[in-house]
Amino acid sequence: MLRLPSFRLEQPDTLPQALALLDQAGPEAAVLAGGTDLLPNMKHELRRPSVVIALSRVKGLTGIAEAADGAIEIGAMTPLAEVAQSALVARALPALAQAAALVAGPQLRQRGTLGGNVLLDTRCQYVNQSHFWRSALGFCLKKDGTVCHVVAGGSRCVAAASADTVPALMTLGAVLEVARHDRTRQLPIDAFFVADGIVNRRLEPTELLTRVRVPRPAAGHRGAYGKLRERGSIDFPLLGVAARLDLSEAGVVEHADLVLTSLAAAPRRVAGAADALRGSAPGHAPAEFETAVRRVAELARRQCRPLPNLPGDHEWRGEMVPVYARRTLLAAAAGQGPVHHV
């Protein structure tokens, strides 16, 4: 078995204690939520924190609640299984419920948390390997090296954003609550990710993601998530697609959104999707709606070109972009989903 490198374990009981520890340790620290991303990465020596701050004893970071304004607030330490099984989330935020239910496999969803998934490190076939393997390769841009093996001559890391819940949260206009020992800030999730595979999150080393807040969805909100992967469980996405359709009382699309992940370092919103779909009426004029959906799928195909950063056939992933874009939008319109092969 691969060994976990040694570190000092801190188990604060309160949020202020956790933030104080984080403030002291700074970049030397790693935060442990469910550990399903951090621990394998530590075993692969992708991270060598001297201090690990475990949040399991900190009260107040779990739970799903509806705020007075109708927003839904989910504690960062809420297990993915709980998000997936919540009747409230399933009813109000179907894309998020579906995405959470498709993260990894059942055991990992019991351990893994929503916050952990949002902060999931980027992934690449040349990165998520043992130190021996990476040393044999000569390392790479993301860790310990200077070259990219995905894009010849590339100077920017293109390791893939791989969190299933992120595209769903982006379509939902989620806001991240980020705490530091001296302040708390609210950050729209759209502004949180950058196209840099080395670190694709705008989170200071002394900050902690504490809560995810999703504004009250429209009355006619519909959403769905599509996940492409080889197996019916366990695997990270080879492509993740979140769709949002807000219908008026008359059944007309008033707002729409389509966000894809597992392409490169940041999730990608399909430009023009909302315009193409707005005004169509899936229930009343399905043919017209489908035409709009096909137009959006074509936009997605043009805008989203998966790279050979993840294992397997990236050309096939590219071919699946319009297919999953279309199927996920149709599923959302029908109040169905997820789009998943099993």
Partner: protein, 784 residues
């Protein structure tokens, strides 16, 4: 084969009490409760932990190794390199090209270079980082075609044939005339990618060198006897000072049937340090140890008459062996020799060439050497049926080899239930009503196969039995069986217990099995070639039958009755003519011990002489063959290219099913493995010479939600030489899975998949190519 190697198919006491019952596995509860002790569960006082330094280069010369800094690290007890273990070994005496640690060269990324023993794993790992190795890089061979074309630089410098590991050319009958006169010739190229075993338990050993000068090695091996021999050879210790024990084993599938580096390294480190040494591979190291299924590039030509009768088969196969020979000589023969049933064809030629490449060494995996050709051949047959407008079942029925036959390459086939296997899957799958009538995107495919129940060819030539058993009868009524056989999860020990209880009329709990310990047990050659049930089973019957007479006569004498009236049944002895008279078995054992002597017996099995009279003619010659037929049902999503296997029907002729639950388990496990290899598993080395993803995340094994409904249909053609008529069930049932799947895809969407694995991207390309072919005129117009 003497008379004592044939025991007949009948129950020993009138009717079977245990055979056919499907009793729980002998170690089932221990495994389910966590009480079972695997190699890594073992621990000894003062035990050190050892780790291996591995080559980061696919091909390089070793200039120098400096381990001074590693040895200086506190907690490090010993560092060894290739100089400490220079003696070559290899599972086959003719191709011993491995050393425990690289001596002058490294031949793949992951090749072992040095080993360290330290107080704990972290210290050992830290020491590895301090070992400095100076490499001179050499050109890496990653493509077998390149290895075939050029032998420079040679991967093994003492080989005369460049980078060719083994070449076999055999021909039977007049192949060229048969092709010249054939009504139909089907030709095709087929690729088998690499796959590995992925047993859940990684390789692990614990070595102890006692003050008495005896080395004890607990190893997760499926071949204790060969490990015993190899240790003696490499360590220079006489074999009587070595004891090898296989603890409970967490799966092997052929991946633990070579001697491995860690067995030698831990042993030498234990000798050097005078402390017990454990070495456990990481999952990544298991991928480097490999010995998985060989990639093969195959070209087949199949000739037939207008009625579909096969006239000739001609095959050319290029085998990518990886860095070492392992079982490669046998693989090369098997790739041709095992194809000659369950169909008769009068002329056959094959040319198989195995080459070395700078990749983890390939070896035997469940269905050794014959899964790849079977895939190609059964797709060829499906294409032939298509060409002739014949139902695929009908085509196969026109070519049945039948029972008591001799194959074109001179193999003796005795019992043969293949025709019944065809009937069972045809009926169970609703083939006649459904095939060709399902909506587009859904389809059924079928295939058949034949496999060996052990071979008469021991890995090192010797006239001794292949399998030995020793029985010890206790006054308590307990029988202890000492079996050399390796129970690797397939249930050998469960079968041994069942047969002893049957023969001596005992309850199962009155039989205990001690197995795979070279100090305690007679030699059995190991868990490979599907030989266990057949050979160990016959040895058990041999041993039991030597004791039965003794026991019966002691009781008969005591009762003053004719011995024919004495029957042992369910832990008691009864008088068939006086229902009131009976004894517990323990009393019978005591009577016999008092009358005769301490009670025990040995038994053994050896094969008859078999095989064709030509070089290589004994390779693949088996005392009995199993037969299998599959029907696979698939759905193909033509937009994503994804194939979903919905259901599979597996009919397998295993002779008498001694334990039908174990047989069905083997059938389901085999079909699962074959379908997984077809659809998701891929042992691939990338352009840098690195394994693409040596982990169970990136090496995809289907999960429960990816696994189809599997229907096991047991066919029992009682074999005249098997124990009570039993044959193998562990490997044969895998073979048809892959071609049946390919044939089902053809039925579903009209494309032929001939290049594994059947990834969705390939399916889409094939669908587009087929669509373009259907619209040639349109394509021509749009092309202008």
């Amino acid at each position: 084969m003497g008379a004592r190697d044939r025991h007949g198919i009948d129950p020993p006491w009138g009717e079977f009490r245990h055979v056919g019952q499907g009793s729980t596995k002998i170690d089932g509860l221990a495994k389910a409760t966590g009480a079972a002790l695997y190699a890594d569960d073992l621990s000894l006082p003062l035990m050190l932990h050892a780790k291996t330094l591995r080559s980061p280069h696919p091909h390089a010369r070793l200039r120098a190794i400096d381990s001074g800094a590693a040895l200086a690290l506190p907690g490090v007890h010993a560092v060894i390199t290739g100089r400490d273990l220079p003696v070559r070994y290899g599972i086959l005496p003719w191709s011993q090209d491995e050393t425990a640690l690289a001596v002058d060269k490294v031949r793949f990324v992951g090749d072992p270079v040095a080993a360290v023993a330290a107080v704990d794993e972290d210290t050992a790992n830290e020491a590895l980082k301090r070992i400095r190795v100076d490499y001179e890089l050499l050109h890496p061979f990653l493509d077998p075609r390149e290895s075939l074309a050029r032998g420079d630089p040679p991967i093994h410098e003492d080989r005369k044939e460049g980078n060719v590991s083994k070449k076999v050319e055999l021909a039977f009958g007049d192949v060229d005339s048969a092709f010249a006169g054939a009504a139909v010739v089907i030709e095709g190229d087929y690729d088998f990618h690499g796959t590995t075993h992925a047993a859940i338990e990684p390789h692990c050993v614990l070595a102890r060198y006692g003050p008495d000068g005896v080395l004890t090695l607990w190893s997760s091996t499926q071949i204790t006897h060969y490990v015993h021999r190899a240790l003696s050879r490499v360590l220079g210790l006489p074999p009587h000072r070595i004891r090898v024990i296989q603890p409970c084993l967490g799966g092997a599938f052929g991946g633990k049937s070579d001697p491995f580096s860690l067995e030698f390294c831990a042993s030498l480190l234990a000798i050097r340090t005078a402390r017990p040494v454990k070495m456990l591979y990481t999952r990544e190291e298991v991928f480097y140890a490999h010995r998985g299924r060989h990639p093969m590039q195959m070209r087949y030509r199949t000739a037939a008459g207008p009625d579909g009768r096969l006239a000739a088969v001609d095959a050319r196969i290029l085998i990518d062996g990886g860095a070492y020979s392992s079982y490669g000589l046998v693989t090369t023969y098997y790739s041709g020799q095992l194809l000659t049933g369950p169909y008769h064809f009068p002329a056959y030629r094959f040319e198989s060439t195995r080459v070395f490449t700078n990749k983890p060494p390939c070896g035997p995996k469940r269905g050794h050497g014959s899964v790849q050709p079977r895939f190609a051949f059964e797709v060829q047959l499906d294409r032939l049926a298509e060409r002739l407008g014949l139902d695929p079942f009908e085509l196969r029925r026109r070519n049945l080899l039948g029972a008591d036959a001799t194959t074109v390459n001179g193999q003796r086939v005795t019992s043969n239930g293949f025709a019944r296997c065809l009937e069972r899957v045809e009926e169970a799958s609703g083939w006649r009503q459904r095939r060709g009538r399902l909506p587009r995107g859904r389809g059924l495919g079928m295939a058949g196969s034949m496999y060996i129940s052990g071979t008469n060819y021991p890995i090192y030539p010797n006239p001794m039995p292949q399998s030995g058993i020793q029985l010890k009868l206790d006054r308590s009524g307990l029988v202890t069986v000492f079996s050399g056989g390796n129970d690797i999860g397939q249930g050998t020990n469960t079968i041994v217990r069942c047969l002893v209880a049957e023969e001596l009329g005992l309850q199962l709990e009155q039989v205990r099995v001690v197995a795979a310990d070279t100090d305690l047990c007679p030699v059995d050659l190991g868990a490979y070639s599907s030989r266990g049930t057949f050979m160990i089973g016959n040895a058990v019957l041999d041993a039991c039958r030597k004791l039965r007479g003794t026991l019966v006569s002691a009781v008969a004498e005591s009762w003053g009755v004719d011995p024919r009236r004495v029957r042992f049944v369910d832990g008691a002895v009864v008088d068939l003519e006086d229902p009131g008279r009976s004894l517990p078995t323990a009393d019978a054992f005591q009577l016999a011990e008092a009358r005769f002597d301490t009670l025990g017996a040995t038994g053994s099995y050896n094969t008859p002489s078999l095989g064709g009279d030509y070089r290589g003619g004994t390779i693949g010659a088996s005392p009995a063959y199993s037969f299998t037929a599959h029907v696979v049902e698939v759905t193909v999503d033509e937009e994503t290219g994804r194939i979903t296997c919905e259901r599979a029907w597996i009919a397998h002729d295993c002779g008498r099913a001694l334990n039908p639950v174990l047989v069905a388990g083997q059938m389901e496990g085999s079909a699962y493995m074959g379908l997984a290899e077809a659809l998701v598993e891929e042992h691939e080395v990338n352009r840098f010479g690195l394994h693409r993803g040596p982990s169970l995340l990136d090496y995809r094994l289907p999960t429960s939600v990816d696994t189809p409904e599997l229907h096991s249909l047991i066919v029992e053609s009682l074999d005249p030489e098997g124990p009570y008529g039993a044959k193998e069930a562990g490997e044969g049932p895998l073979h048809p899975a892959i071609p049946a799947l390919s044939n089902a895809v053809f039925d579903a969407v009209g494309i032929r998949l001939q290049h594994l694995p059947f990834t969705p991207g390939k399916v889409l390309k094939a669908l587009r190519a087929a669509a373009a072919e259907r619209r040639p005129a349109v394509a021509a117009v749009s092309g202008t």
